[in-house]
């Protein structure tokens, strides 16, 4: 059997998926390394395409993921923060391809209790973080908040003309407590490559908006999705 070792040919037919006698067809357009990396030959038999890249339990407002592996299709970031009375409303991401490019934008559709609203940000100045979430202050200690963001095809190469694109992400989150206030949001996030390439993403910083320390129990995890 002969096939390219870096990447197999794209195919839409998946009826032979996971067939070990036809391995390349079963894993179309994937890097061969992913077959070994928790995929086809992963231990435990779960076959899950999700792997942890790094988990941080730091309570600093900002955390930076560096040297992000370029071996996954998508990045998935999950941030869980336990109850606290500080401003939990906003957080930002920045430092993609440090320094961050000028001109990016984000748009956030949010709901706080029964009120729906829109927050747009863009174009942004150089080295300015793109807002990822919006919320409100002073949620009680019984509250919880969970955020997740997905950067699709973050490891693609930059290019030019309409055959290229800029980095983008989709985010969503929820915060609230069982007795009073709740909030949810959906975020569109696009970095503008007008002043340079925005792909691939090699470094990512996520920063709590007002810079205060986060409560003990905060967990921030960056996953790779094969």
């Amino acid at each position: 059997m002969s096939f390219r070792q870096d990447r197999t040919n794209p195919s839409t037919a998946v009826s032979n998926w996971h067939g070990r006698s036809e391995t390349p067809k079963g894993w179309p357009s994937t890097r061969v390394s992913t077959w070994m990396n928790g995929g086809l030959f992963g231990a435990g038999g779960s076959g899950s395409s999700i792997e942890i890249i790094e988990t941080s339990t730091a309570t600093t407002a900002a955390v930076t993921f560096t040297s992000i592996p370029q071996t996954y299709r998508h990045l998935w970031f999950v941030w869980i923060i336990p109850g606290d009375s500080h401003n939990w409303g906003n957080f930002y991401s920045y430092a993609l391809n440090n320094p961050v490019l000028a001109g990016g934008a984000s748009t956030i559709f949010n709901q706080i209790d029964d009120a729906r609203a829109l927050t747009t940000n863009g174009p942004q100045p150089a080295n300015y973080g793109l807002k990822m979430a919006v919320g409100d202050d002073s949620v009680s200690a019984t509250s919880v908040q969970v955020h997740d963001f997905t950067w699709m095809y973050y490891s693609d190469s930059p290019g030019s003309g309409t055959t290229s694109r800029w980095s983008s992400a989709l985010g969503s989150g929820f915060a609230g407590n069982p007795t009073t206030q709740m909030s949810q949001y959906l975020t569109g996030w696009n970095e503008d490559g007008g002043s340079g390439a925005s792909l691939p993403i090699t470094q990512l910083t996520v920063n709590f908006g007002d810079g205060v320390a986060l409560p003990s129990g905060t967990v921030r995890t960056l996953y790779g999705i094969n």
Binding site: T12, V14, P28, R73, T120, G122, R165, W166, L186
Partner: protein, 186 residues
């Protein structure tokens, strides 16, 4: 939740109207599509672009229903009460080529339930998130939740398995950088 990669499709070297996943395994509880895309069409605003999802490449009328909650780049949009008896399931939008020649992709996550043809659970259902943010102020960015259903029925509601999913660019073609991956979920 286990998420298992099934296949990837892209427009490759040519802008393409339809991208199709075929031969979908009938071994998962549900499916998830994750991807990026934009249309070659010069839209007047983001929601003029339509990401049409077609099940089993069925383009017949009276088969789909869908609704959405959304914002464009300037305001929260009025609730869309829903579209019935449609020939496709709308599950997203895009910004087109007006803002910077199409550099801004939209990003999508689409979950599909009851795809196995088990009539116990009724017709196919889907839930989608579709977003794009542009630096241009004229309504090209958007955030939206879509939900809908497809009438996969021969003799009973939901009794026809879904073996293919067609991702259609409703105006223009998917730009060649558009790419989608299909996952099975247990």
């Amino acid at each position: 939740m286990a998420l298992t990669f099934i296949a990837e499709i892209s427009a490759n070297d040519t802008d393409t109207e339809n991208l199709v996943f075929t031969g979908i395994p009938q071994t998962y509880t549900s499916l998830r599509i994750m991807g990026i895309g934009n249309t070659s069409y010069a839209l007047s605003q983001g929601f003029n672009g339509v990401f049409a999802l077609q099940f089993n490449e069925d383009t017949a009328a009276l088969k789909n229903a869908y609704m959405r909650q959304a914002t464009n780049n300037s305001s929260v949009l009025s609730n869309n009460p829903g579209t019935f008896n449609a020939s496709y399931g709308e599950c997203g939008s895009m910004s087109g080529t007006t803002p910077d020649s199409g550099y801004y992709p939209a990003t999508y996550i689409i979950d599909i339930y009851n795809y196995l043809g088990d009539s116990t659970y009724g017709n196919v259902q889907y839930f989608s998130r579709s977003v794009s943010a542009t630096s241009h102020s004229s309504f090209y960015g958007h955030t939206a939740y879509f939900a809908g259903t497809y009438k996969n029925q021969s003799s009973a509601p939901g009794d026809t398995p879904i073996t293919s999913l067609q991702l259609k660019s409703g105006f223009g073609n998917w730009l060649r950088y558009s790419k989608f991956s299909l996952y099975g979920r247990d």
